[in-house]
């Protein structure tokens, strides 16, 4: 009980409730998980058709193809991160909640990562196999995606929040966010390429981890500020 007589849920309970709601929404609407995955699989299939079916050359481009595909799949799903909430008014409730917006935004990004990016990371080694990626690089691919994709969710959330009130923000989101994804792409695909050549890739993963730490600490603030603008 607070002084004003209102019962306020603790932060963990609020976060848990929010996460449960976000996950429930996705499970009622499994398309949100399936579509990015199908997108990644189809994009990957186009490359052997467009470039060459020769395994050695496919293996060479595989890290880049899978990473670019995963990045675009994540971006496609980001457009709806806040739009639905902005339309039906639940975004107002989120901003009015007695907890720091920082954590609530972090929770939303976590839900996005769990439902969109994590399945991509899990399926990526299979696609790597299709593109004859060296078996030694499979672990690197999975790990790099595991560490790298949360950065995409967190940074992409800034763009999604800026555009939550804009109708048809789809292409614009790509313009805003893609340049910011460059470091993740460089180090993520770099780790896989290094692993494929039998080199040590722990350095790239460490840098991805550092970028993730930076994104976790800073980007929810920007996302929160952007959400406030959307509703002002």
């Amino acid at each position: 009980m607070q002084a004003d007589g209102m019962v306020r849920p603790s932060l963990t309970r609020a976060l848990g409730a929010q996460l449960r709601r976000d996950l429930l929404l996705v499970f009622r609407h499994p398309q949100d998980v399936v579509n990015p995955l199908a997108f990644l699989v189809m994009v990957t299939t186009l490359f052997p058709l467009a470039v060459t079916p020769e395994p050695s050359r496919l293996a060479e481009i595989a890290p880049g193809v899978i990473w670019v595909g995963a990045l675009l799949a994540t971006l496609l799903s980001l457009d709806n991160l806040f739009r639905g909430d902005a339309d039906d008014g639940s975004l107002e409730l989120l901003l009015l909640a007695p907890h720091a917006l920082y954590f609530l935004v972090l929770g939303r990004a976590l839900a996005h990562w769990l439902t969109v990016a994590l399945p991509l990371a899990v399926c990526a080694p299979l696609l790597g196999y299709l593109l004859s990626l060296a078996p030694a690089a499979m672990g690197a691919l999975f790990l790099a995606l595991l560490i790298g994709t949360p950065i995409l969710s967190l940074v992409g959330a800034i763009g999604a929040a800026l555009l939550a009130g804009v109708q048809r923000g789809g292409v614009l989101l790509f313009l805003l966010v893609l340049p910011l994804f460059v470091p993740v792409l460089v180090f993520g695909a770099g780790a896989v390429s290094a692993a494929q050549q039998g080199l040590d890739y722990s350095g790239q993963l460490a840098i991805l981890g550092a970028l993730l730490a930076l994104a976790v600490t800073l980007s929810p603030f920007a996302t929160g500020a952007a959400l406030r603008i959307t509703l002002s």
Partner: protein
């Protein structure tokens, strides 16, 4: 000091004062650019390897420096918008972004013209070229975001956030791209390691650089003035100003 800053933030005062300064800034820009370009193109010695192509440097280097510093100005204006909510800072940002983008384009364009005879190719995935290209993308995103949001106040703060996020990211992007390049291909050349230039070669760079800076401010201030007039057209000072310029008897 604070008083002065406060005045600077007021559009009518800004409009009046820059109206007085602009001719001087424009004249100084024309003078410096004239001197620098003439000196650089006609009198500076040619490079013993690159010949006359080296003269592109007198445009290319100032444009590239301005391209980056214009983004820093955008981010600075963004912080002012977010913290103090100064309308004028956003007008400056709106005016600054397209000019910064065109400086980036000029830097890329002159660089590729220089690259053809020197490196044998218009485009090379060199770390520096790539990071300037990404800087151009950042500008494009900024301009597109402003165009997408109708309401001026929301657009101002959204662009300010994007500018600050971009500023945090620019060093990360720059270093990641440098790292990427060293991994994929050994740098066959480097723009950073210039041969020690004789002073008669780099001295003309200085008037060109300051001249281009002044030209940049001339254009951006002019655009800021127009933006201020357009956005505040319903306010009395702007109406009076428009009437004065159109020589219509003050119908305020």
């Amino acid at each position: 000091m604070w008083n002065w800053l406060h005045k600077l933030g007021s559009p009518p005062w800004f409009y009046r004062m820059t109206g007085n300064w602009l001719p001087w800034i424009g004249a100084a820009a024309a003078l410096l650019l004239g001197v620098g370009v003439t000196w650089g193109l006609l009198f500076a010695p040619q490079d013993y390897q690159q010949g006359h192509t080296v003269r592109i440097m007198y445009i290319h280097v100032p444009a590239a420096i301005l391209a980056q510093s214009a983004y820093m100005m955008l981010a600075g204006a963004g912080i002012v918008v977010l913290v103090w909510r100064v309308r004028l800072a956003d007008m400056f940002a709106e005016a600054c972004a397209p000019v910064g983008a065109s400086m980036t384009l000029v830097a890329l364009f002159t660089g590729s013209i220089w690259g053809k005879p020197t490196w044998g190719t218009y485009w090379e995935w060199d770390a520096r070229l790539t990071s300037v290209l990404i800087l151009l993308f950042l500008y494009v995103g900024m301009i597109a975001l402003r165009a997408a949001i109708r309401e001026a106040e929301a657009a101002a703060r959204a662009c300010a956030i994007l500018a600050v996020v971009g500023m945090v990211n620019i060093p990360i992007i720059k270093y990641s791209v440098e790292w990427w390049n060293t991994l994929h291909q050994p740098a066959s050349f480097s723009v950073t390691e210039k041969p020690a230039m004789p002073p008669e070669m780099w001295l003309p760079l200085l008037p060109c650089l300051f001249g281009l800076y002044l030209f940049f401010f001339y254009v951006v201030l002019q655009r800021t003035r127009t933006t201020a007039l357009r956005r505040e057209r319903r306010k009395q000072w702007a109406r009076a100003e428009i009437c004065r310029q159109l020589e219509v008897p003050g119908a305020v």
